[in-house]
Each structure stands twice: as structure tokens, then as C-alpha cells.
Symmetry: C3
Subunit: 430 residues, 3 copies
């Protein structure tokens, strides 16, 4: 039956600084968890004004419940007074190292994009990951790991945050990581991830009554998403791959990721022509066939963007330790300091045209001066140099300080060259 | 004093798959509960595009606390990243089967409209209940039950979600259910509910400075509320009654509800005339008296709508069992499958005029062609045939699959005839 | 290590009616807390319509965790279906009566503005405190107290709710209270608070590209903030001081606060002139120099406002008791009734000009009739007489009933003279 009471036999446990209650027969476990990120950011801005701010950037309540081989997790964020559903899933623990998950959870792609921000080395992910990483999707996943191998795959059908009109998209995302060397003093991992995605609809255009061309892919990163921001309308498909590597040697670590994306685009030129109705304007010579649109405004060719980062760390007071079940690093012990440097190169441009006066024309300058268009994407690029210091007060509390120096190049903000960002975070997790 | 500590004597209990902590002296009980609904919906749409989607449709945190004869419940939903206050009340347990409740809770009306969605047989309520059921109100209620009798009544003053300007409304709602036959293999119940309501204000019109005519009643149901949607402005009162019946025989069940509503309407013709100021336009022959408005645009006569559904179920692996304290069915045991069929007829039309070109004129076609109006309500009607399969994995988890076939008839969507809706839900409650 | 389990040794504790779990070694404590405020308000309005309403005005979930000398608190409000981050901080307990706090918490200013609404004598704070009290800020604070002395100070950098563009502000706020007399039957306290503030940016004007003149201070109180509402744009600094006194004698109490504020203002006349570009309009005689703006539209002189309240209470069934750690009154015991009266005088006017036709001109009537402006602030003033009855059912539940009679004087609502407000609240805390 569903009701049974045990007196005097409950246990309380605090793994990773959380709180877990376990019933006497071990059949039932509940944990209560929470998070506060207290953030301050000061911008040394160049020409474009950026809003320096302090904030409670993330605050969460969560509960996990486990009944035998099944568990469920609920985690909701309220940062900046906005509700965001985070982990919300049901999991079946087939074996200790083999689980099926259904609900809202991280798509398995790369290191940073599939890891909780509380375990990232810096405050937030690199620009590489912000721009082209994935985050959570609603779907069904399977994860399996051994000491040396970690594999995770899933099918997803869009994000929980998209309440736009139009049909959802779908994606399939997979990650493998292989860690052949795991000595006491040296760990070495390589891995790769791949995702194929049909983007989600981004609203619905009543005049076309069609869900095929209303999809959008956005890549954005960095300060207020101003200098790195590529928006691709009419997206048909979105493919990305990622290579990752990780090396740990005593108190030293090296971590790198390379991500590349290709987005195909198309538009409904036939419907456009029907709507523009050239037959009604018989004296008009243009447009007369669907191909006239791309011929004049530019082809919606495929867009490719790429980015990578490399970061190195040094721990004072502990050594780095590897966790096979997450394919990443364990949290350093209380009292440890961590020092990090990172170089990030994010390039969201795919340009084959001529830019002038705020728009793109064909690469051929004469055609461009004649008024023809070009569908190049100018999302900007940036080289970012970062420093970080972390202090791990306990399993629950850490203090973070970051400085980023960005060398930006974005034609929409031509006067901005160098941006400095000083960030601090007090991070509480339980 | 308010502080007392007991070591080694707390008990943990998991009734209905939840978690309850009880202090040693039994004076104190706290339960923590949560919910996740992971939903997918695919529309086989006709002409009007509908947005197929997966979503976390409901996700909740809740706590209940009990001190002796008093208890309080807090339950907040965050589905689709929006905050919705659900149960939020203080309850006085006068006797085991006699309780007073104050706060936000279900108004006692019918079966489905007063039952948590987690206990409904289908994913969400029938169109009948969606359109004319009530849901939660802020008020004061009393509930009493015996083995055979269940009665609940309350007075309410609007919903917690209405933050529109203008004064709140009020309502009084009552339900009785009588279950004379309760043998081991046969249970039979009949019941009725009634509500009288003054609708809530729906914003405030500065130019009239009056709270009497700014009230609205909306009945809406089905896919995106597109094909069943009646909006009655200037609502003065709203009366509804409901008949319910339930029969259980071993693994079979039959459940039906009939609901009928009558909404009275009025407008402030005197203020309208003052505002239109005919004296300033002395050459105008119209309007010259308040009655000119209804004479030309149509009378705001009473609107009546009605709907009913009948559903039958079959349990594989368990028998249906009756719960006197809720006047409804207990949750089937783990491992059971449930198969259901439903027929729903919802008619939100009350038309006595002539429809053409998107508006209503008088029934007399000549008057209509002269341009006169008619205040008929055309909310659409639909016959809906539904199938459902439920699998009860445990007290905490169930899997649901539904298919609805709607035969719609709505003059605002004249080309839409038949809509198919395939829905799945993974439901986690603890 | 971060994980240790103790069987059979957890304790549960309910201080102040809450729930606290403590691990066997006392190293770990978790409390779960919540709140519901069920409110009804009925306005006896004068000319301007006010929206009578019932609502769940505040509903909260919270968790506190303590590990040794550190603790963290998370508390989020969902009243009226909106998310508001409340207490969200990390605290270091240097000594029992000496704590450092970082995060979002009350700035120490006066009695009412630094006290949880659950402990206020009336439903909500006086108009004095609503208008010129502070509330929570994001910052770093220190608090120290002895039996007779209470001191708290902090530096803050804006509120968690401000998501406007533009840089955050900062403030430093301090409070001292001294309670020299603390006999069994007489307690007497005096205290003072001071804050200096650079207001937060309230959005960003692209054309000026500057964060110095986009700041605003708003003082607002009372019914829908309609009759007491002073908005000061171009705010440069904001200074406020507060005097407080409290006297308790058996079942009697007297409490009073006086608050005064001074806001300095300025505008970017140079940029305005550059933007207006008089050189392009060579025939224009005006403006020709920055000073022309204040000369014609009026000087942005400093604005001073002030307010105070005095309230007296009588407890039936208990005596008032003082709490040194909060410098305020302890919650009366279960079963006590409390009766209160209050007089509040809030004056948000600082006028040196002539009002006519909805705007201010210079005090010199001839200049005013010539069209010149004046930058006086007319926020309105009100004398408010209030009555309250509280019933303390238990440590968790109280019932409140208030009546306010406001004598208002606000040139924006010239016809409104007297407003009555009847409010009830059922307050549940655990």
C-alpha cells in the first residue's frame, strides 16, 4: 500500500552539502536543495553604454525524490524575478551507471553546455558555449558510463521556454567522452558531440499559414549580447559538432572545446509571390517568378560559424580529481583556491558580401551599388582573455572573481574596440 | 511556548507517495509535495493552424503544515514559466469530516471542476468542464461528509489571477452528492451543484467611472480556445447548475455531467448618451434617448449555453473504489491500466439573429440588411469523441495517452470541420 | 568529506511555529518556511474609483540552511502571481550577537521599514514608511547588539527588482537604537537612522549616452499610490533620516517614527543644447546657452519631504515584551487580542510655484502667466487616522482587521477629499 510509517528510523544525510531524508526501508529519499548567486558586474565600456549592476542572478528551489529505481527532480529558478523551469524530469535507474531520463534536462553537448553553472570554472560559460552551446531541452535521453567511457544521447522537441506560436522543433544530440588515462597524477580525456536540429517556430505568420519558414536560430554571447549576436531567420536545419579535451595533473588542469555550427535557410518565395500578386500590377516587370526574390535580395545560403576556448587552472590546497559519472572534475575541497586563465575566440560572421550603410550587398561592388542585397550574417567576432580566482569556502559556498578583456569586432558597433568586464559572484548551493 | 525539540522521535510517512514529517507529540506535521506534468500535443489541424508542442505544462511546489485542528496549504504552479497560485488556504478541522476553509481553493461545482487534474481520467477536463466549470476562488467554504452524503458550500470573491482594475465580483457555490448504493461490487452516485455569480471587473473605463458594466464572462475550451469561445461583455450575473452521476461496478465505471449556464447582460446607455453628447450635434437625429442604442445595435438579452459529457472506463489489474471524503474514485493501484472513452457535446451558441460578413444582424433579414445589429453570442459548438489509456506505474507516476476527435462548428472558423488531437502526459506527483 | 549519515539522531524543532531539522552533530540545520496573506480590501472611495479586491497578496516559500558559523536564507514571494525575491543572503555568525550578511536583505532604516510585514502592528506599513522607508537592497551589512544597544550598517548597490537599463546606484544605510530602560514593566527606546543614496538608473536614453541624469526617486503610499505620489527625475542624491521611539508598559505600547528626505536633482543641459542644435536654426534666439533651460523651465532645486506617525496599542491577554536581537517587540502569545490606533501625517509636497491648469509656473504670477515653468514637486499630502484589531490564534496564524480614514489633499485629484479603507487579513506563517 502507499502509506507506511516508520518511527525513529529516518536518516538525514548531507551529500555535497545538501539535505537528504531517507526512510527506514531506504525505499524513499527526499532531498531539498537551493541556490543563490549574488552577482556584481562592472563594465569598463568603450562607446556603447553597458549597464553595470548587482543582482540575484539565480535563485532556486528544488526537490528530488527517489522511490526504488525511479527518481524525479524539480528545480525552478527565480533569478531577476523571472520564473525559469530548470531540471524537471523523471528518471529510471536501470543500473547504477545506466539511466533513462524524460523531461527537461541538459542536452548532452560538450563540457560547459551540459554542466551546471555551479561547477563551471568561471562565472558563466565561455562565449563559445554561450553562443553555440545548447542547454536544456524537453525530451528523452539515455546515459551510460564506465570508468573510462561516458556516452549520452537523446531526442528532444524544443525548449520549455518557447511559448511562441507555431509547431515545436526537434533535435537529436549525442556526446561521447573517452578518458583512457586515469592515473593518480594524470587524467586525460577526449570527446566529441553532435547535434542535428530542426529549430522551433518563432511565432506564426497568419498570411502564410505555414510552419516551415517561421523558424529562427540565434547565437548570442557576451556583455548584454550586444557584440556577439547572429540571428538567422528562415532556418531549416541546424547542425553543430563539438570537440572537447581535458587534462588533469595534480593541481593543474587544461580544458578546451571547439564548436562549429552550420545553419541552412530557406524562404517561401512561392507564397511571397502569390501574396505580392504581380498579376494585379501588370505594368510591373518584377517580380515575375519565385527565383526573382533570392536573385535580387540575395541567396539564403548556409551559414557556418565557429568558436573555441582553451583554459588552464591551478589549485592551491587541493589536486584536481576526476568523476567518471559526470565525465568532469569533482568540486575541490573546502579551503582551496583556484586560479584560471582562458582564451576564447568566437566568430559569428559568415560574410561574402559588401557592407555599407548598415546593410549588405553582393560581394561585387557594382552590383551592390546598384541596390542588390546579400544575405550574409554579421554576428561579430571577439577574442576574449579572462582571469579568474575561486575560493571554495565549503561544500556549499564559494566566492568567485573574474576579469574579461574582450577585443571586439562588430560592424553594428563600429566604434567599440575593447571592453573590460569585472565580475564577482558569491555562490551558495545546498 | 512556541519552541520544543524532540530527539529521535520524528516520524516520516509517505501517504499517497508524498513525504510527511510528524513531530513526536503528533502536534506538528509538515508535508512537502511537488508535481511535474510533461506534455506533448500534436494537432491534426484542419484549416486554422494550431501549434503542436511539448512542454512542462505544470510544475509545482507545495507544503502543507498541520498544527492540531488547524492546517495550512501552499501550492504554487510554475508551468510554462508562469506563476499561478493554486491551493493557498487555512483550514479548521472542526471534526474529522467537517472542515472550514478560507483562502484560495476549488469552488464546489460538479465532478471535474472541483477535482485536481492529477485525478481526472483524461488529460485535462472535458470541454464541458473547461467551458463552464469554475475552478478556484478566494473565499470561505464549509465541507461535510458521511459515508453516503457529501456536501460543500462557500462564498467567494473573485479569482486570485484577476489583477484588472475595477471591483472584484462575488459568488456562492454549493454541491451535494448522494451515494445511496455502496456495495462491494456496485457504487451509484447522483449529485447536483449550483452557483450564482457576479462576475469580476475586467478593467476600468475612465470615461464612465463606474464598476457596474465593466464585467465579463468568458466560456472557452478545446484547442487553443479557438473553436469554443464565448465572451459576454456587460455581464450582470452568471448562474450555472450541474448534474453529476457516477457508477462503479468492479473494473467498470460510468461518469456523466450536464452543465447549463445563464448570463444576464446590460450596458450603461445613459452614460453612453451623455458621452456621445447629441446636444452638441443638433443636426443629428440619432441617438436621442438611451433606448436608441439597444434598439439599433440589438438587445443585450440573457445568454444560455449548455454542455454535457459521458465517459466510460475499464480497469485492467484493479477494481474501481469509492472515496467518501472526496465523493470520487480512489487512485487505482500500481500496475493497473485504464481504458476510457468519452463523448462530449459543448454548445456555446445562443443565436437568434442572422450572421453575415462577420457580424450579427436581427433575425429579420430585411432589418439586418438595413444595418441593424443583434447581440447574439456565437461561441461555437463541438461534438468531441475521446479515447484514453492510463498506466499507473506507482502512487507517484502515471503515463497518459489521449486522442480527441472534434467535430467543430464555429462561424468564425467556417472552414474548420474536424480536428484531431493526440496528447501524451507523463505525470509525476509526490 | 562532504557526506556523512547519522541514523536515528535527527531532531525536529518548531521555533516560532516553523519547522527545523537538525543533524545529530548539530552541524547542519534546515528550516522550511512559508507564508500566506489572504487579504480583502474595500474602498469607500470619494471621486476617483479604487478597485476593491480580495487577493492572495503574499505567498512565500523559504528555506534556511545553517552550517556551523555560516547560514543562508532563500525566500521568494509569489503574491498576485508575480515573483519577488525577498531575503536571499549568506550570513556569517561571527559571534552570537555579531553578524555579517551579504545578499538581498533589509537596509537598516527605522522600525517599520526594516521589519518583516508579519510583525507590523497594522496591515502593511504606515504611509510614512511606505513613502520614505527603504526596504531591501543588495549589499553587505553588519549588525551588532547588546541588551541595550542595537546597531546595524551596510553598503548596498541597488535593488534586485530593478532590471532597467543604466548603471545601478549605491547607498549606505545605518541604524542605531538605544533602550536604556528595560524593567519588567517599562521599556523605553530611542533610535535614529540615516541613509545616503545615489539612486538607480531608470532606463537609458540613447541620445545622451550617459548614466548621470537617468536616475529617479519615487515616494508613493496609500490606496493604489494615487493620492501620495512624488516622482523626482534627474535625481542626483537622496538623503533621509529617521527618528524612532518605542515605549512598552505592561499591556500598553507607544511607537513613533519621523522621517525626512532631501533629494537633489540636476539635468544635462549641455547635452540638451547640443542636441537641440541652435546653430542649425540661426534665426532662433533661444536657447543659446545651457542655463537657458533652467531659467525658463525652472531650476531643479532640492526637494524636501517629511512624514511621521504615532501609534498606540493595547494587548488583551498578554503584556508587550522586548526583543534585544531585533530591537522590537516579541510576538504576543496565542489567544491575545491587540487593539491599536494610529495617526499618520505624510507630506510629499515641496512647492514654491503657482499651480494652474495641471502644471506649475513660477511663484511670481506674472512670470507664470507668461508661460515660464517651475520644477516644484506636488506629491500630495494626507492625514490618516487608523484603527486595528489583531487576534493571535497561535504562533502561526493571526487575524487582522484595519480601518483607515484618509484626509487627502492632492492637486492631481482635486475632487477627492476623504477616503475610507477597510482591510482584513488572515496571516499564516510557518
Amino acid at each position: 500500500s502507499g502509506a507506511n510509517a516508520q518511527e525513529n528510523k529516518i536518516s538525514v544525510d548531507n551529500p555535497n552539502g545538501g539535505i537528504k531524508l531517507t526512510s527506514a526501508d531506504k525505499e524513499y529519499q527526499v532531498s531539498i536543495n537551493g541556490r543563490i548567486y549574488m552577482d556584481g558586474v562592472h563594465y569598463f565600456d568603450d562607446v556603447t553604454d553597458l549597464s553595470s549592476d548587482v543582482s540575484i542572478d539565480d535563485i532556486r528551489f528544488g526537490t528530488s525524490v527517489r522511490w526504488g529505481k525511479w527518481s524525479a527532480k524539480i528545480n525552478v529558478g527565480f533569478g531577476n524575478d523571472e520564473v525559469k523551469i530548470k531540471d524537471a524530469f523523471l528518471r529510471y535507474h536501470h543500473k547504477k551507471n545506466s539511466t533513462f531520463t524524460v523531461g527537461n534536462f541538459f542536452e548532452p553537448f560538450g563540457i560547459e553546455a551540459a554542466e551546471s553553472s555551479k561547477n563551471l570554472r568561471f562565472i558563466g560559460a565561455s562565449n563559445t558555449t554561450q553562443a553555440m552551446g545548447i542547454g536544456r531541452g524537453v525530451g528523452l535521453g539515455y546515459t551510460y558510463y564506465t570508468q573510462k567511457f561516458y556516452g549520452s544521447t537523446g531526442i528532444f522537441a524544443g525548449t520549455v521556454d518557447n511559448n511562441n506560436k507555431g509547431d515545436q522543433g526537434f533535435s537529436t544530440t549525442s556526446k561521447v567522452a573517452y578518458t583512457p588515462i586515469q592515473n593518480e597524477d594524470f587524467v586525460f580525456q577526449v570527446g566529441g558531440s553532435f547535434t542535428y536540429r530542426k529549430p522551433e517556430a518563432n511565432g506564426f505568420n497568419e498570411s502564410f499559414n505555414d510552419d516551415d519558414y517561421n523558424r529562427v536560430v540565434e547565437f548570442a554571447a557576451g556583455p548584454e549580447h550586444k557584440f556577439l549576436n547572429a540571428t538567422m531567420n528562415g532556418a531549416q536545419s541546424d547542425m553543430r559538432f563539438n570537440f572537447q579535451t581535458l587534462a588533469l595533473k595534480g593541481p593543474f588542469m587544461l580544458q578546451a572545446e571547439y564548436t562549429q555550427a552550420k545553419v541552412t535557410r530557406d524562404d517561401d518565395y512561392v507564397s511571397k509571390l502569390m501574396k505580392d500578386g504581380p498579376l494585379y500590377y501588370v505594368t510591373y516587370a518584377w517580380p515575375v517568378k519565385p527565383q526573382d526574390y533570392p536573385d535580387w535580395y540575395g541567396e539564403l545560403r548556409d551559414i557556418e560559424t565557429k568558436a573555441y576556448y582553451v583554459q588552464a587552472g591551478f589549485l592551491l590546497g587541493d589536486n584536481y580529481k576526476y568523476n567518471s559519472s559526470t565525465a568532469y572534475i569533482k568540486r575541490p575541497k573546502a579551503g582551496a583556491f583556484e586560479f584560471l586563465v582562458r582564451y576564447d575566440h568566437t566568430d559569428l560572421n559568415d560574410i561574402d558580401g559588401t557592407y555599407f550603410n548598415g546593410a549588405y550587398g553582393p560581394a561585387d561592388l557594382n552590383a551592390a551599388l546598384g541596390g542588390a542585397g546579400n544575405m550574409s550574417i554579421q554576428g561579430g567576432k571577439a577574442d576574449t582573455y579572462s582571469l579568474a580566482v575561486n575560493y571554495y569556502l565549503s561544500s556549499n559556498v564559494m566566492f568567485r572573481l573574474n576579469y574579461d578583456y574582450m577585443d571586439v569586432d562588430n560592424q553594428k558597433h563600429p566604434l567599440d574596440k575593447n571592453i573590460g568586464v569585472l565580475k564577482g559572484r558569491i555562490q551558495v548551493n545546498f
